[in-house]
Symmetry: C2
Subunit: 328 residues, 2 copies
């Protein structure tokens, strides 16, 4: 009999998540598999900011790359790696024909030389697919346009910035430390600023004196307000994340509507959970870009399942570079 | 020698425009025309809410249908009617090769049986072209979708509502009196509400219990906030006017960004002044729709150039139905 270790959320988050919000429990799994079921053991986990705002009925959502320990499912052979969206748990039995949390289905992770399986949680996973679809397919970037990316050293932002650079845009990224800014420079961002030292409004005055064509918003708050005050005609704002609002929502914001009208701007939201059918197509494109070195992945890896709450909390204090991954 | 009567704005507007903001002066025109010039006499004027927010260097902007009294311009024969964007003035001399206020160029008004020349200021003019381009070409309306139109009895809103009805949408319109609501019902709006008696939030609960697919915003304020709280997935919000904000801007509004994100909504602005090249194409379409009785024009005509300030002020108190026109 396999006993799964499971992290549970014991109460609703208030403000930044705290260690006391979490509890580790044991859960006995069934002894035998039914038709279409597989028994899996987690190898890598992802933690993402969106967890903060979802209120799933059971446990905490998270995708994992897991090893198949036993299988009664065709096309899911024992020993293979599989993507499973079953929460913060070390082991699970899943039916591969049924959707998991957020509608995700079990997906085999192919073994490709030079690509860590953990990348299927990052640049070849939800954050990368988000960046590709939301930026390339919804923001219509053109050479020479001024693109601002917030949380630019994060899992989504760092991909957006690299895609923008390859489109010939002028890329301005914000991040929360000198190390992160240096890394963004090394990726080819033309301008970077540390938002802890320079207000977005100031940075835009300096780096985007003629305004912003595209703003890829991962944070909300000051960044959004500064861009709304500096929209170029036909500017596009893509609301992808609102990390500043997850823990401290601003109920009232400066009126954006006249600014949107005057610039004929477009402000749109993108939620990856509505686009799961696009994953196979977009994953292929991203794998190709990574193999051509046009996209550089970066991960911050936390060792140990027991440290998963800390890895999650770190997302909100800006401790991670690139994709936050937990290695069991 | 011709002496033009000219309404001038004597000070910046504060809150609702007042009679004392305006002054009527005489202006002597040149005795002779130069090459490409025409002398015109106003027949119809339009007043539009946007005047409130523009700050043009000379006088007050407004388009007029004028009679050509004398001409030294090819294709602009004496006796014809012409559209001219030369402000609140009874007479003018214009060079037809040069752009006027806001980039508009002089355009001959063709004589078409059954269509008053004043319609070139309304349904076949800026408001109609705005409604057509912003709604049909940017909101992607589909049969069965729920469309909300604010200021629905106005020059733009009444056209949007009729276009939405013809697309097979469920149309909800707001207006400021029972008479206006009755008229909208007669045009085929499924639901109407008097926003002076029913708050937009209440109206949406009743008429759009499953949310709003498209909001065509002519007013801003309460209407926009109510819709943002009731967005359907992939909702589209078109910011066309912000009449509630022209005179009493709300500096702070409820945070829309998370709502836009969660619905994957799109909020975009439309400014007709950036689309003057589209007028000939769109005018043809609208003339055809009017001739097929698919679009019903409605005008509120104020008699007398001397009453032009009052006609303008009436826009902000909701006194007019359809297009506000001044007949000299």
């Amino acid at each position: 009999m396999v006993v799964a270790k499971v992290w549970q959320r014991v109460k609703a988050f208030e403000g930044n998540p705290k260690q006391s919000d979490f509890k580790l429990v044991d859960e006995k799994l069934a002894d035998t598999l039914k038709e279409n079921e597989i028994l899996i053991e987690a190898v890598y986990f992802t933690v993402d900011p969106y967890i903060r705002v979802l209120d799933l009925p059971t446990g905490l959502p998270a995708e994992q790359v897991a090893r198949i320990l036993d299988s009664k499912a065709k096309d899911f052979p024992k020993g293979s790696l599989v993507l499973a969206h079953v929460g913060w748990r070390s082991h699970a039995i899943i039916n591969v024909t049924e959707p998991m949390n957020l509608g995700f289905k079990a997906t085999i992770v192919p073994e490709i030389a030079g690509l860590s399986p953990s990348l299927w949680l990052g640049i070849i996973g939800m954050p990368g697919v988000t960046a590709y679809m939301a930026f390339l397919e919804r923001c219509d970037p053109k050479p020479g346009e001024v693109v601002v990316v917030s949380a630019a050293s994060g899992a989504v932002g760092s991909v957006v910035g690299q895609l923008a650079r390859d489109k010939g845009c002028t890329v301005i990224g914000s991040a929360g430390s000198k190390d992160k800014c240096d890394w963004l420079k090394s990726l080819g961002f033309q301008h970077v600023f540390n938002y802890k030292e320079t207000a977005p409004e100031e940075a835009l005055k300096q780096y985007a004196p003629d305004g912003v064509d595209i703003y890829y918003d991962n944070v909300g708050g000051d960044h959004t307000e500064a861009v709304l005050n500096n929209l170029r005609v036909k500017a596009r704002v893509l609301i992808c994340g609102q990390i500043s609002a997850y823990n401290q929502a601003r109920d009232m914001v400066p009126n954006p509507y006249r600014k949107i009208l005057r610039a004929e701007a477009k402000v749109q939201g993108f939620l990856i959970f509505k686009h799961l059918a696009d994953f196979p197509r977009v994953r292929k494109e991203i794998i190709s870009l990574v193999q051509q070195k046009k996209l550089q992945p970066r991960e911050t890896i936390t060792q140990g399942f027991k440290n998963m709450p800390q890895a999650f909390m770190d997302l909100f204090t800006g401790a991670n570079f690139g994709k936050a991954i937990i290695k069991v």
